[in-house]
């Protein structure tokens, strides 16, 4: 047993996660709650103003509506530092090594040091490069990961007041559109570098992204079909109430079983007529149950399809052909150095986080507790939560520092997202890189037909089952 290294990895994860999300939490609270209520004189314990001037109210409001962007700006760099370190340490575990453990307290500060080093490196523009495009490319690469992730914020924070403004009725489509922009930046970077390796890397990334976007989008479209909406907040809302309601298990096809399970298990009064309710969820006697089962298989496959497509979309191993070191030096970012390279790096890891959050929101119920509600209700949690609530009530009620619902939603989202990130790292540690023709074959001959078949099957199957939508 390798308890020491596993312990170190978990310690690292816990430390960095608390740093990351603590910083985001404090920043959001400070800008979104504390300063506005302070200047408008609504802060308890501090000075009270009765009638703030409209200018002050306007400033407070402006601050509040800037909170979503601010939270992302705080979150992205710290998170990227954590993810790089997490990836390196996890890969070290998988390859029976130790990983970076020198800098700071057992390697905790390694990526911080790396970041400082990168920022102080000379920023070189190669001769013959198109300087304007060369500079523009990292910006275009990075910007979508900021504004593209905005609608997700409301979804992962249980529709918190501060993040509501960022939500869009076309949420998931907006995210997908934003996620497709970085390809332009990659081609641009490849072309502007005046380097053959970069150009080939950029072209490869374009070819790959265009082919893998189709299964990716098709899988999400199918999920939206089951949910009946494009709004991510609504999609999360539908999946509440335990693992059986999540989209990965049939997109609500099992929620009938979820509702009826307590009656069957004699947890509530057995006199209730379950068959009527069963008929409500599964109208046709046998066919509906079979179709629910089919839907479960389909959604699980769609989840895999989404993960595969997302992996290719963000150029991670085994789809990292655009930056295949053994063939293309470093692909599109061969010529980049200093802060521009840092931006590429940042955006890559942010993209990994964003696609994992999309998977969480679309398939894994967002910030939902995986334990079914009827079990949760049985557990003696009430006194504990009441005690905690009264203990922290100055924080919750007066300072509005903690919103319990948001806290738990964020907690579960963090657990789910980083599990997916961990899985991506595991895949990176396991699978070798595709060859370009295999990549295209796999995308066009396997994934796209599979996605289309699943789409059709889901369309038919859901006519017999009552799903979320």
């Amino acid at each position: 047993m390798n308890a020491a290294e596993i312990y170190k990895l978990s310690r690292l994860a816990i430390f960095w996660l608390s740093v990351t999300f603590g910083a985001v939490w404090v920043a959001c609270w400070g800008v979104g709650v504390f300063i506005p209520s302070l200047i408008t004189g609504k802060m308890p314990f501090l000075l009270q103003v009765d009638n703030p001037s409209t200018t002050v109210v306007f400033i407070a409001d402006l601050l509040r509506s800037l909170t979503p962007i601010l939270s992302l700006l705080v979150f992205i760099p710290i998170n990227a530092m954590f993810m790089v370190l997490f990836e390196r340490r996890s890969l070290a575990l998988f390859t029976v090594r130790m990983g970076p453990n020198r800098h700071g307290f057992d390697g905790l500060a390694q990526t911080a040091a790396d970041a400082v080093k990168l920022l102080f490196k000379e920023d070189i523009t190669p001769r013959g490069a198109d300087a304007f495009m060369f500079t523009l490319a990292p910006i275009i690469f990075f910007a979508p990961s900021i504004f593209g992730a905005l609608p997700l914020l409301a979804a992962v924070t249980n529709n918190h007041d501060l993040f509501k403004v960022a939500n869009l009725p076309t949420g998931i489509f907006y995210i997908l559109a934003a996620a497709s922009i970085p390809v332009v930046a990659l081609v641009m970077a490849g072309w502007a570098s005046n380097n053959k390796y970069s150009l080939v890397g950029g072209l490869r990334s374009a070819a790959q992204a265009i082919s893998y976007e189709i299964p990716l989008v098709l899988s999400l479209v199918t999920m939206c079909l089951l949910a009946g909406t494009l709004d991510v907040v609504e999609i999360v809302e539908q999946q509440k109430g335990g693992i059986l309601n999540w989209n990965i298990l049939g997109g609500g096809a099992l929620s009938g079983y979820d509702k009826l399970a307590p009656y069957w298990l004699n947890l509530v009064d057995t006199s209730f007529d379950t068959s009527a309710m069963f008929g409500q969820f599964y109208p046709v006697p046998w066919l509906s149950s079979i179709m629910a089962f089919v839907l479960v298989i389909c959604t699980v496959l769609l989840f895999g399809l989404y993960l595969t497509g997302a992996c290719a979309e963000i150029n991670r191993i085994p789809f990292d052909l655009p930056e295949a070191e053994s063939e293309l030096v470093s692909g599109y970012n061969t010529e980049y150095s200093g802060i521009k390279f840092a931006i590429f790096f940042l955006a890559e890891f942010t993209n990994l986080f964003v696609v994992s959050s999309i998977a969480t929101v679309m398939f894994l119920g967002g910030g939902d507790n995986p334990i079914p509600k009827w079990i949760l209700d049985r557990l003696p949690l009430e006194p504990i939560s009441n005690a905690l609530g009264s203990l922290l009530s100055p924080l919750i009620k007066d300072l509005m520092f903690i919103d319990p619902a948001t806290f738990w939603a964020a907690f579960w989202v963090i657990v789910k997202v980083y599990s997916i990130v961990f899985f991506a790292i595991l895949v990176r540690g396991t699978l070798p890189r595709f060859r370009i023709d295999q990549l295209m074959d796999f995308g066009w001959k396997r994934l796209i037909p599979l996605a289309l078949i699943l789409f059709v099957v889901v369309v038919f199957a859901r006519t017999w089952v009552v799903c979320h939508g």
Partner: protein, 305 residues
């Protein structure tokens, strides 16, 4: 279609198997070690830094200046300076240089050495600040008696026979004087060349230098002293001293240009030196002859060019 499904299931299984295997690796102890804290126990025949062993029993230098190693070295990074003693008619080692910057640690030199003098040690931490300091001279190369014993035991080499002839006691006085000055020179060189050299090594270097100086006193007692003092104005007048000085020049000429034929015999080298001298300013020549430091000599040689 069924075939396709079979293959899909099969490949899923394989990928799952792979993921499981890799995940299970995380429960294994790391096979790597944290280097500066833990240093791997190296195999006896690990090919690290080269060194010249002395006889573990008597402390005599083992090299017989046969130049086998010099000849076999594919990189031509060994350079031996030796001369034939007029009295015993045997080769005597003056200097032995290995450029570890060129060496590829193939170990061929250790294979051919007839007296197992040149050996690969287990030392691999040779990082240094300049290329020049990677050229190890005889002082830095020669091991102490203890170290030699350690490596002879570890590599299970046969113990060499002690040398038959003892040193002539007649030259003891002169040798003592020479040894002192040479030791001083050796000390300075050691300081300049390698600050990290262990004290034991420095001591070994002193001893080796003293021995070499003593060997020189055997053939020319009177000339050895002024030469060791590193300033000899009357050298130009004395023909014998000139011969000695010319030999030293050979060393300098060679070190100046490592790519030059190391095997070039003394005659040709001497001629070269004479030519070089005629090109140089006459006044500078004698001073240059006396200089022992290779680097300084190099710098001087570069000036007229």
């Amino acid at each position: 279609m069924a075939n396709l499904l079979d293959r899909a299931v099969e490949s899923f299984k394989r990928v799952g198997e792979g993921l499981k295997t890799v995940f299970m690796h995380s429960f294994r102890e790391p096979t790597t070690q944290e280097y500066p804290e833990k240093i791997q126990d190296l195999a006896p025949h690990f090919r690290g830094r080269l060194a010249l062993a002395v006889n573990p029993d008597t402390g005599d230098h083992l090299c017989i200046s046969c130049r086998q190693c010099e000849r076999v070295c594919p990189d031509k990074c060994i350079e031996i300076t030796a001369h034939k003693s007029p009295e015993t008619n045997k080769l005597e080692l003056i200097d032995f240089k290995i450029d570890h910057g060129l060496c590829m640690f193939c170990g061929l030199c250790t294979e051919v050495c007839p007296t197992t003098c040149i050996i690969n040690t287990n030392d691999f931490e040779m990082a240094d600040y300049s290329r020049e300091s990677l050229i190890y001279d005889i002082k830095r190369l020669t091991l102490t008696q203890d170290e030699s014993t350690y490596y002879f035991d570890k590599k299970e080499l046969p113990r060499p026979k002690p040398k038959a002839a003892a040193k002539p006691a007649a030259a003891a006085g002169a040798a003592g004087a020479a040894a002192k000055s040479a030791a001083a020179g050796g000390d300075a060189a050691a300081k300049a060349a390698a600050a990290k050299a262990a004290a034991a090594k420095a001591a070994a270097a002193k001893a080796a230098a003293a021995k070499a100086a003593a060997a020189k006193t055997d053939d020319g007692e009177t000339k050895a002293e002024p030469k060791a003092e590193s300033k000899s104005e009357e050298k130009a007048a004395e023909p014998k001293a000139d011969a000695e000085a010319a030999k030293k020049d050979v060393v300098e000429a060679k070190t100046e240009d490592i790519t030059a034929e190391p095997k070039a015999d003394a005659e040709a080298a001497k001629k070269d030196v004479v030519e070089a001298k005629t090109e140089d300013k006459a006044a500078e020549a004698p001073e240059k002859d006396a200089k022992k430091d290779v680097k300084e000599a190099k710098a001087d040689e570069k000036d007229p060019e």
